[in-house]
Symmetry: C7
Subunit: 94 residues, 7 copies
């Protein structure tokens, strides 16, 4: 299990099937990097200058949209994950 | 539904019809990027260093003017949105 | 009406007639960008890290001098405005 | 009258007569930019993150030395001024 | 013994055996820099602006994943270590 | 008299006689910039975000070592001074 | 005596004898810059925004490992020292 630190989260990428306007499914190399993910683990939050810890808004299981190119790719037990800071999460899909 | 995080908002672009001074409507590629939008969803606000959360000034339904090139384009359920930070909002059209 | 956010203000430019030392009025393209404006609307002020909101020093109707090239040009209902942060205002003409 | 904002001050430049070591008075274009000024108006001070306003150390009438190239040149009612932040003032000539 | 300061930690690298998809074990020079380590010593934590010291989330003995290229390589008593800031630790392997 | 502002100090340079290893005194242009000075005047200290003013550690008369190239050269009543921030002072020679 | 200011320390370099893997002692110019030092003097600590002074973790006499290329070289009474900020100290050798 991966336990992210502070304001970090671990996500699995969600592959969104992408077609061109003429209906052709694009091969992998022609697609933009995915922007959707599912939260697998969330950190304990960041610590403010007054010592208070702020809970993350994002929770395990949330589907999120995140900034392209954000985060670090990590391979763990054969699976690929992305570790982001919560500030790179744009929105939760609710 | 898209739930933006922190001080972020989700907006729909408002296309402003643009004519040249001689009255000719410009085709899309010749226009500047739009600067007007309608707020579709607003985040819960940013957290200050004393732990207090500051409500956004911008509310769902507001028409806003925002900084050109700010934000991230997001496609969700076939629609296009822009996710901005409130600090990129210049003014509310009231 | 344009309601600027936070520490922003909306101003109208004041054209200052500019002559060369030999008394010739310069055509528009030869002049420097104007540095004077009249405040049309002022934001609610910026929020400090202790949650307190600081009123702007600048008020509606003030004539101001501002940093050249600061701010964002905005066209609204046929008029041109500039939206600045108060920190770009150098002085009030009192 | 020019009322500078926050931690800004308005100064008049003081031309310091500059001679080369051989006693020749330099023409204007060969001199360095002046570094001395007289304070014509001082702002109300900067606001700290606890909401307290800090009075400027510099007062109207003070002669100061300031960082070369700092500030913004402003022409007002035929006179030339420089608007600086107090942090660009190196010392008061007392 | 190495006692790291503040929010720093000392780690030993954990070599992860890396094969290409065709099953060939890569020689050392062809591998990416390792991203896994074991915490050998942890600092006393960083000091907040209110004077409070924040304990590190990472403890001696933890296996961690860290940002590639982060930290400083140090040789001590014949062994090689890496000294990182806790902020370069992405996740604890739990 | 020069009264430096905030965390600034005014120093006089102390010329340190510099010889090469073979005992030759170097002419002025071949020497490094001096790093030693004597404090002629000290500011009132910097203001913290809680409004408290922090006294400088450096006092008038102290001999100091400072960062090469730091500060601003100032000529006043025929003498040359350097105005530094206290943060550019490396150590007091005690 | 050198009294470093704030969060600075004065150290003496400790030359670590360096051999190549084949046992050859490297001449001085082929070695990396030393990373070990002994603390000769420590400052009074940095001042937090609440006015509190934080004691340094490093004390006179400590052997430390520090970031390569950090600090400023200083010659005093014929000896060479390095003046660092405590933040450039990676670990104490305990």
């Amino acid at each position: 299990m991966l336990k992210p630190l502070g304001d970090r989260i671990v996500i699995e990428l969600i592959e969104v099937e992408e077609k061109t306007s003429s209906g052709i499914v694009l091969p992998d190399s022609a697609k933009e990097k995915p922007q959707e993910g599912k939260v697998v683990a969330a950190g304990t939050g960041r610590v403010l200058e007054n010592g208070q810890r702020v809970d993350l808004e994002v929770k395990e299981g949330d589907r999120i949209i995140f900034s392209k190119y954000a985060g670090t790719e990590v391979k763990y037990e054969g699976n690929e994950y992305l570790i982001l800071r919560e500030t790179d999460v744009l929105a939760i899909i609710g």
